[in-house]
Every structure is written in structure tokens, then in C-alpha cells.
Symmetry: D2
Subunit: 291 residues, 4 copies
């Protein structure tokens, strides 16, 4: 499997009572397909995976794979506090036919590299799926250096991809330079998309297509085709929006935006709150310009 392009994040739709609504999840996935995403990453930050019970998590994973039915590859996000739970979920992802897992080391106690390495290796030994090493210290509480992640790529056969979400472009330069450009890396920071793609990122993992359709795909394609001026213009057109959905909370922002567009996918799970009215108005103004 060679992942590239736009990797779309679906949110997880809830009913007013907070129950997962699988039929609306189908709608969500169809919106992403219409936005021409090249793959789907289920159960990431946008999907509120951290706030789901194990049963809910499995239902979302299974439904996503089933609904997509191979139209584009599916990556399943796994961010568990215990290695045992990560193993179970990696096995489940394989069992239901997912294409890869996106594995990050969620932490309560800060983890050492020794502990993180063991976590990845144990998961890798339990499931044959390709692993995208996912570094997102802002949500997961632990940071992995480019050097360390590349060592895992070398030492763990199925760890073949890296996703970087620190927002520091130097990390990507390091990954590219140290690997001789041979290890595919992915951008997980929306407002870093321009430089990440220019720096050689194979893909951009983003929830933006949930709200603004094919624009992220157009940006990716323009830059990969050498249309750098057009790419920069597209990026600046989206810039305020991209920064907004990150700084106001991806799940809350996307769910509010979907509601503004007529898709009621519910509120994020508490303690997360929907956008304030002021934020919703700002988002409405941005969407009006972009869509």
C-alpha cells in the first residue's frame, strides 16, 4: 500500500442523547468521498476516539470499513494508554479489513523511548497491518523526535510511515534529510499544509474536506504538479479557516460547521463543548467565502 494525497478525517456523529449514529457516519464518509479524499483515517482526533467506549470504537471502525467497501484505503487510529488495549484494537482493525493503523503513544505518565519502542513493537507483533507512527504531543502528551521515529521504522518491519503533527516544519526536513527522502511522511497540522507538501510530505491528514470539499485536494495537486503560485494562493485562501478549526478544537469546529451546512451530526462529547455563538458566526463567515 502506498498512501498519498488527502487523508480525510470523519467526525463521529452523535444523537441528541449522545449515542453514535451509524447512518450519519455513512453520510459523513460520503461527504469526504465527494471531496475526493484519497484515503480515510477513522478514529483520529476529529473522530473523538479518545472519548468513545471500546464498543463504540469498534462499531465506528467496522462501519467505516464496511461502508467504504474498498473505494479508498482506511487507516484506523489507535491511541491507548495501555499496550494491551492497543494490541486488541490493532487486532480488531486487521480482522475487519482495515488497510493500516495510525498508532500514537497516549500517555498519563510521560513515556521513555524505551517504553514507546516496546509499545510499538508489541503492537506490530500482534497485527500484520502497516503502522503509521503518529507524533502529536499536544493531544497525546509525549513527543517523539525524528531520529527516534526513524529508528522505529528501521527496527520494526511494519512501521513504514510517519505522521508529524507538532507543527514544526523542521521535523519534516529532518525526516526527509535523515532518510534520504525514502520514508513517506504525512502532515497532521492543517495550517502547515503548504510547507509540508513543499517539503515532500506524501499526504495531508485533515478534517477540512468535511466542510470545504475539494479545496484541500486542489491544493495538494497544484503543489505536486509544480503549480506553486496557484498552490500558495489556495493555501492563503484557506489559511484563516485551517487555523481556526485547529485552535477552536477540531471536533467542535467541524461539527458546528456541518450543522451550519445542514448536517446535524450532534455535539462533541462532554467535557468538550460546541463552539460558542461568536465562534459559530466567525466560522459561518469563513465558510461563506470558501464554499
Amino acid at each position: 500500500m502506498k498512501l498519498s494525497g488527502i487523508i480525510g478525517y470523519p467526525i463521529t456523529p452523535f444523537s441528541d442523547k449522545g449515542q453514535i449514529e451509524l447512518n450519519k457516519l455513512s453520510d459523513m464518509i460520503d461527504i469526504l468521498l465527494t471531496a475526493k479524499v484519497d484515503a480515510i483515517a477513522a478514529l483520529g482526533s476529529a473522530g473523538e476516539a479518545a472519548y468513545l467506549s471500546d464498543e463504540e470504537w469498534k462499531a465506528v471502525a467496522q462501519h467505516t470499513v464496511k461502508h467504504l467497501a474498498g473505494k479508498v484505503p482506511v487507516i484506523i487510529g489507535i491511541a491507548e494508554l495501555t499496550t494491551e488495549n492497543a494490541v486488541h484494537k490493532a487486532q480488531y482493525a486487521h480482522q475487519i479489513g482495515a488497510d493500516a493503523i495510525m498508532l500514537s503513544p497516549f500517555s498519563y505518565y510521560k513515556l521513555s523511548e524505551r517504553e514507546i519502542f516496546q509499545h510499538y513493537r508489541t503492537v506490530a507483533e500482534a497485527s500484520p497491518l502497516p503502522i503509521m507512527i503518529y507524533n502529536n504531543p499536544a493531544t497525546c502528551g509525549v513527543d517523539m523526535s525524528p531520529e527516534f521515529m526513524l529508528r522505529m521504522v528501521t527496527d520494526i518491519p511494519t512501521a513504514t510511515m510517519i505522521k508529524e503533527s507538532t507543527g514544526d516544519i523542521q521535523r519534516m526536513h529532518k525526516i526527509h534529510a535523515l532518510s534520504g527522502g525514502n520514508i513517506p511522511f504525512y502532515n497532521g497540522c492543517n495550517h502547515l499544509a503548504l510547507e509540508a507538501i513543499n517539503a515532500g510530505a506524501s499526504g495531508w491528514c485533515t478534517a477540512a474536506p468535511c466542510l470545504i470539499g475539494q479545496k484541500p485536494k486542489h491544493l495538494f495537486d497544484a503543489l505536486k504538479q509544480g503549480k506553486s503560485e496557484q498552490g500558495a494562493a489556495l493555501f492563503y485562501e484557506m489559511y484563516e479557516f485551517l487555523e481556526f478549526i485547529v485552535s477552536s478544537g477540531l471536533s467542535a469546529a467541524v461539527k458546528s460547521g456541518l450543522a451550519l451546512q445542514g448536517h446535524n451530526m450532534g455535539s462533541p462529547r462532554k467535557p468538550l463543548l460546541p463552539l460558542t455563538e461568536g465562534q459559530q458566526n466567525r466560522l459561518q463567515t469563513m465558510l461563506t467565502k470558501l464554499v
Copy 2:
């Protein structure tokens, strides 16, 4: 209830297969009682609460209250990603007869003050137990200012205590100064104990008595009785040890130390690892001097 003095953290004993061993938990609690702790805080960081299933968590909470049988007050730590789970645990803590809860806002998405406040208020409305607001950004991923925590104390009737674990003594000065010395605060940072108590902390939450007996209690009493020179000497005697158990991971360090003292309480749950041999040797040297 007026909590003061040494609030001891038990670790959670596991068998070689990773199962909780309640009889050893009794031993653990007895070790703390022998160390003259003034209260027990179950299911904190040292207790690996974040790594337990709901059933395990309940078993530990219940057994702790039952085994203590009122000898000293029991505080139950609650650090949940969802408000719903926090509510369930707060209700359970009340149901089994715990004396208070120690509530911290565990986060995946960074939480706003609006979200944190709502989390605390919802839990407070669901359980009559007194709440110790617990700020520990290093493990919980979200920081609360003294001003914000004091606002919660004012607005939420059962939120009556504050535990500060940032390691920044200025936070305690702020709490003391802004509240006119009227809100009890507790220290959760072992190597800050000397200044925290001198700054007016009502108590010190610590796992140190698991390994070094009554020394923490002696330090607390010396300082509260105005024996500042003796207190400082006791603190410096323990200083390297206090810093070590924090920097090497509280649960791993205490479990290794207990093993060195003949109490096999198992290893921390993966991905957490036991101390390395080098760290164990260093700990042995420190314990030999202190015990």
C-alpha cells in the same frame, strides 16, 4: 472534614500476570498506616488509575475504603476523559463510603476554562462528596491557574480544597494570597515539600511513605511546629530520593523500591516499564541511607 498532614498514595499491586491483588493492596495500605499517614489518596498517579479498567478501578476503590474501615479518611482520585465517566466514578466513591474525591481534568483535546468548569460542576451536582481540585498538567495535559481554581471554589459549594502539582511554588503563594489564607491547599510535588509546607500547605500528598516510613510525617510535623532547621535538614536528607521517585516515574519507582524491601507488588502496567537495573541500584543506595 478537615484534611491535613501526610496524605499517602498506595500503589496498585499486580500479579505476575497483571491481575490486581487485593490482599497485597491491604499490605500496601498497612505499610502507609504504619508510616503514620493522616489520610489515604487511592487511585492517583501512583495507583496507576489511568491504566485500570472500570471494574478494576472500582475493586481498588471499594477494597481501600473497606480495609481502612475509617482509621483515616480516604480520598478517591478521578481523572477521566469524559464527564460521564467522572460522574459515574464520583457516584461510586460516595456509594462505597469514601470521604472525598480528588478531581482532575484529564484531556485529549486541550480544554477551555469553560469546559473544565462545566466538568467540575456536573460532577459536583452528581455526588455530595467534597472535591479536591487537582492541578497536574504534566500528567493530565491541562493547566489551571490559581485564579481559575479559586473561582471554582467560590462557585461550586463542594469544591473546597486545591491540590497543586505543577512544581511552581508561586502557584501556592497566589492561592494563599488571593484567598487570604482561607482555602486549604495541598502539595502534590514531592521535591517541593519543604517550601509548600512553609508556604502554608495543609497537606502533602505523597507516595514516599510507601518506602521511607514516617520520615515525611516527621518533616511535616517539624515544620508545622516551627522547627525549621530540623525540617530543612530532614528535607535535604530525603531530597535526592524525592526527586528520583518523581523523575523515574512514581509507580515504577515505588514498586521497584517495595520489591527491594521484600514486598513483591508486581510491575507497572505496560507500556510502563520497571526501573532499569542501574536505576534500581541507585534506589537501593538511597533507601539504605534513609531507612
Copy 3:
């Protein structure tokens, strides 16, 4: 004046006894002209301006303007602790015929925006030269936000350009987005060159041409001409070198590199030290590949 392209930093040559050598400064400037720089920025970090006496500073400024004789524009760096000294230097720069000044707020006490604004306005009122607002918190000890710098551009008529050296590409996106692309900004962080130019930077201020000739100019031109793939390839070719000269100290690195290339320009002024032997060997290896 519309500055664009590569703005080269000369170092300040010293004799073995630590005296400035103006004839070698001419050689240094000629090296930069051969490297096809579009302008010269004298007395920046690379020029060790902070370590020169007032007389030395003036001698370097005057000699640079005179030797260039209008071949390319000259910008004079000014980073003074007192406003009075900054005013004197700005007046001197005008008097000798420099084209612009690059003004940064060097600090001992942290400065408020109120203090920084007054500093810039006072200098602007004392000298008619265009001002490049220069933000470099790592050396100058004070950080200026994009919003604040743009406010100064609006309120101070001669403040027309911004140079950003934090290394955070988001600052440049903010400047571009908030100004509608109308305020020229310049990159002062070598290993950020690829994304800075792609983000719309008008120029790249760099000492790299002192050692690697026209390569930085080729990178700039390739990217501005839409040859993004060639640009990225050039950037990665230089990447390790660009990062090395920043992390090992610009002045020390460039002077060591010049010595390796047969130009003895002396050592940096103490407490600054020349590169260690190990660093020199690393630099030699990089230069062999690049030149």
C-alpha cells in the same frame, strides 16, 4: 527602494590581535558580490555588531557603504540597548549613505510593546532611512508578534519591511494574511528558507553565500520561477549545512569555513570561540560536497 532576493551578511574580519581589518572586509564583500547577492546587510548577527565598540561599528558601516559604491543596496543593522544609541547609529547610517536600517530591540529588561513602539518611532523620527523591523528573540531577548509589527508598519511611515527570525513559519503566514500580501517580509532563519520563500518572503537574509557562493541565489530564483521541485532539491542539498551554521553560531561557523577555504578572517570575539576541531571537520565535509 524595493529589496528582494538574497541579502548577504558579511562577517567582520579581525586580525590575530582582534583588530578590525578593513581590507579583508573588502574581500568579504567581494565574495558576496561574486555569490550574486542582491543586497548587503552589514552589522547583523554574523557581523558581530553586538561585540564592537562604537568606533569599530562606524568604521565597518562606512567602509561597507564605500566599498560597495552603490553596486547593491546596503542595509545597516542596529540593535542597541538604549534608544539614544540607536538614534545615533541611525543618523550615522543615513549620513554615510546607507539605503536602509534593520532595527531590532535588544533588551536587558524585557520590553513592553509600549516601550518597543516608542523606540522605533524615536529612531524613525531621527533618520529618514527606511526601516526593516527585525524580530529575533533568540539573540535580542524580546519577541514581537506579527500583529504588533504590522501595527508599527501602519503607524510609522518609514517602517516598511519586516524581517522574521523566530523560525516559526506561522509568523510569516500571519504577516502575509493580515496584510493582504502587501507588506514585504524577509526570512532570517536559514533552515526555514524553503518554506519562507514559498510563503511569499521577498528575500532571504543569510550568511550562507559567504561559504557556498550562488547556491542560495539559485534556490531563491528557482522557487520564484515556479521550479518547486528543483528548489526543494537545492534546499535539501544545503539543509544540513544551513542548520549547522545556525546551531554552531553563525559568526564562528562562517569564519571557520572561510579559513578552510583559504580566507583567514580571524576568530570571533571572546567569549565567542571558534568551532571545535570536530565541528570544523564536519563543516569541511559539508563544504566539500557543496562547493
Copy 4:
């Protein structure tokens, strides 16, 4: 020489035209003597040393030593960008009869430990005066670890004291623990005074006695005499004030406070600005309570 107790910082009085007024400097020093300071540290942050010309610096140093005439020891602060200038000032301090120098590594380029060590050793070889190693990264732009400073104490015979101004009490615990309590250390962070003295600091370097008389001395004495409750009460009485003069800029705050008390010592040198009216009102309220 064994320095201990309150080490008072005089500010540097300026006329309305910005000239140094030596007769008012005498008044300033007399105010500190009336406040029972145990030593005077001239030309520190409060003295705006960084903003003086060499001639002004020398005039202040000489006048301070002369006016004090041995009543209490004088320490002269030296924070120079070049080693050569630091050497000259250290020699001058010795020549005029100062008792010690307080040496910090002011930086433009970040300095390595190799560079800082060489700086200290060169100064030590040029002047026989005892050296207080002074760590203040917030103003000087470079941080020195306890371990590194203790290594300099070991390797440089005249480097016998350490002053810590990071505001992190753990640094003092480290210095005390690693040196077995044998190296005198001093607190330079006003709102850390309570814990610094309790942690074993030999002295407290402060400008507070310029405005609030003997209160700092009373705090120091109370804590050293084991009256910890009285000491804590005194500290909290001063706490808001101590934090205010640091956060609003020591020199600006003290000069404004002196003016409120009838001593016109002028304004800080630009770009530094006097307190705003709102800040002055706040300071007046605090002084009314304290004096």
C-alpha cells in the same frame, strides 16, 4: 569575606536630562543603610548598568565605594557582552576598593558552557576579587545549571559564591544538595525569598529596601532565627509588592516608588519607560499598607 543577609540594590538616579546625579546616589545608598542592609550590590539590574556608558558605570562604581566607606561590603555587578570589557571592569572594581564582583554572562549569541567557563576564568585571572557567579537568564539570555556553576566554583579559586535568579527553587536545592551545603548561594528573585531562605540561602539580593525599609531584613532574621510562622506572615504581607516590582520592571518600579515617597530619582533610561499611572496607583496602595 562572608556575605550574608540582605544585599541591597541601589537604583541609579538620573536628572531630568538623563545625567547621573551622584549626590542623589548618596541619598539612595543612605536609604539602604537605614534599611539595615548587610551589603550593597551596585550596578545590577536595578542600577540599569546595562544602559550606562563605560564612564557612567565607573562613576557609579567609584562613588558607591567611596560613599559607603567600608560601612558594609560592596559588590559590583558586571554583565558584559565581551570578555575584554568584563576584564576591564573587574580590574576597575578591584582598583577602587570594591569587595567582590557579581559576574553574569550577558549574551547576544547563545554561549556554550565552554565559552562561559573561559569568560569566568579570564576575568578571575585578571582580578583578585571574589566572584559571585550570577545566573539570570531572563535578562542575560543564557542559563547556567547548578551542576555547571558548581564546576566553576571548584575549578576557579576566586569563584566562591552563586546567585540564582531563575525563580526555580529546585536550582537552590540542587546547589545545596550537590555541594553538601558548603557553597553559599544567594537569592535574586524577590518573590522566592521565603523558600530561598528556608532552603539555606546565605542572602537575598533585593531592591525592596529602597522602598519598604527594614521589612526584608526582618523577614530574613525571623527565618534565620527559626521564627517560621512570623517569617511566613511577613512574606505574605510583602508578597504582592515583591511580585509587582519584578513584573513591572525593577528599575521603573523602584524609581516610581521613590518619587511617591518624595525622592525624585528620575526616570529609567529609554527605551525603558516609567510606570503607567495605573501602575503607580497600584504601587501607592501597596506602599501605604507596607510603610
